[in-house]
């Protein structure tokens, strides 16, 4: 792995973001709107339902966590799609970059993109709703890390599809998160799902992350098992996504997708 090459590819996207005010605005705008909306909904439910036991901010905290996941995943896909849209894809794949270097660079860039959007949104929650996501304590870090890994995993899976099937796979890139959201139990406990859906939810890391966030905020206790299962499933899906990416890269070399991408 070459740090110079990883930095080089990071620079390509860093220049792109910093050159364009609308791009920065776009990164900040949607998370802030999302958080503001969910902040008011959160306040309403906290005072009108017994489930949340007046724990103001449970829904809002989950909304912030979900938005981070969403931005990370979409951010990764965007970086990949950006190369296709700008017809730079071939240039990138004829540069002497290892797949691991490309992925590492995109993973770092996706994190920075997500943080650009997330930090202002988190800062908004305190003055607007009197809520601090830091109430989750040290476990906030583990929950964010878990979401970040899963977001990247989804991004790599979608990028594998783009490699294998070409730009026609683009629509899937936008819809992955919406498909998984109901199974993630972001705003409701897993018991809300029909039994068959629960079985699906239990093999995704999301349910453990959001259950644990609610557990910490509502019951003021920590169930380390949830954190453990989230990381275990993340390790499984992340390894699967890397393997699939390599498979798709080789398949694209056989099929000729790499040379036609963006044309």
């Amino acid at each position: 792995m070459s740090l110079t090459r990883i930095y080089g590819l990071f620079l390509r996207h860093f220049y792109l973001i910093t050159r364009s005010f609308p791009r920065i605005l776009d990164l900040v705008y949607w998370p802030s709107i999302q958080i503001t909306l969910w902040g008011f909904i959160s306040n309403f439910f906290a005072t009108h339902t017994t489930y949340y036991n007046n724990a103001v901010g449970v829904i809002l905290t989950c909304a912030i966590l979900y938005d981070f996941l969403f931005r990370t995943s979409i951010g990764f896909n965007m970086l990949f799609l950006e190369e296709i849209w700008s017809r730079n894809f071939t240039n990138l794949f004829i540069a002497p970059m290892r797949i691991g270097e490309i992925l590492t660079s995109l993973v770092i860039t996706a994190l920075i993109r997500s943080l650009i959007g997330l930090v202002p949104a988190i800062l908004l929650t305190s003055p607007l709703f009197g809520i601090s996501i830091l109430d989750l304590g040290i476990f906030l870090f583990f929950l964010f890390l878990s979401l970040y890994i899963f977001g990247i995993t989804l991004g790599i899976l979608v990028s594998s599809g783009l490699l294998r099937f070409g730009p026609s796979f683009e629509n899937i890139a936008w819809s992955t998160m919406f498909l998984l959201a109901p199974f993630g139990c972001i705003y409701y406990p897993i018991e809300t799902l029909p039994e068959i859906f629960q079985k699906i939810a239990y093999v995704l890391p999301l349910v453990y992350i959001f259950e644990e966030a609610r557990n910490i905020l509502i019951n003021q206790t920590v169930n380390i098992e949830n954190v453990y299962y989230a990381f275990m499933w993340n390790a499984f899906y992340f390894s699967l996504s890397i393997a699939l990416f390599y498979y798709s890269f080789n398949a694209a070399k056989n099929k000729g997708t790499l040379i036609n991408m963006g044309e």
Partner: protein
């Protein structure tokens, strides 16, 4: 003279379709080899295989005596490519693009290299311009700068002067001739511009339907087929294969 490109009986099938049917050729150091053929003859597929973007169904490719299959990264460090069908990121400035690719190719003394290329390709005044806002001729010279940023031993050119006005086209051809002489690099040139091929190439390969149907020096091919120029030879060969086999 040392062969920098050695292609040994490469085939490429897409399902049942045979895009390239077992072709072999070499390109020597300090040589420009022309790759000619009608659309769909297998030129782009051949270039794609040389760049490691396509895996040959069979056969072997050696660049600077290294087998491509096992030495992809090492080989990509010493080759580069230019085509009108690929572009540099449009929103970045010219200098940012050259800087990014210098990093990707791990170029030492990046500023010095960019300055050298800017001077040679007359793009100094464009360095702070947005790449997407350049004219075709300017973009072409910037793409060429990117292709030379790593001081390649092997340069693959796909229609390098397509859509350029005669003056810029001539500038690029003169530059390539001089650069090849100075650096003793190998160039594989796929082009539909027969005057360009006649001027630049020591020898040419004529491809059709995935096969090499003729090869030789431009003047020898013209004499062999009794035509006035290479364009007429191209037309004759591309319209009828059996006549010459």
């Amino acid at each position: 003279m040392k062969n920098l490109i050695e292609v040994q009986n490469i085939k490429k099938n897409y399902g049942k379709k045979e895009a390239v049917k077992g072709i072999s050729f070499n390109v020597e150091e300090n040589e420009i080899l022309g790759l000619l053929g009608p659309n769909g003859s297998g030129k782009t597929t051949t270039i794609g295989m040389l760049l490691g973007l396509l895996k040959p169904t069979s056969g072997q490719i050696f660049i600077n005596n290294l087998r491509l299959e096992e030495n992809r990264i090492q080989i990509l460090e010493m080759i580069n490519f230019i085509s009108p069908y690929i572009e540099l990121p449009k929103k970045l400035t010219v200098k940012q693009n050259l800087y990014v690719y210098s990093k990707l190719y791990k170029v030492q003394n990046i500023e010095e290299r960019i300055e050298y290329l800017s001077e040679k390709l007359r793009i100094g005044e464009l360095l702070n311009s947005i790449t997407g806002e350049l004219s075709s001729g300017q973009k072409n010279r910037v793409s060429l700068a990117k292709a030379l940023v790593n001081e390649p031993k092997v340069l693959l050119l796909d229609e390098p002067t397509a859509s350029l006005d005669p003056e810029v086209g001539d500038f690029v051809r003169t530059f390539l001739e001089d650069y090849k002489k100075e650096k003793k690099i190998s160039i594989l040139l796929a082009s539909h511009n027969m005057n360009e091929v006649t001027r630049l190439c020591k020898s040419v390969l004529m491809m059709k339907n995935g096969e090499i149907i003729d090869k030789g020096k431009p003047k020898d091919l013209i004499a062999k087929h009794g035509r006035a120029n290479l364009e007429e030879v191209f037309l004759k060969l591309s319209r009828s294969k059996s006549e010459f086999n």
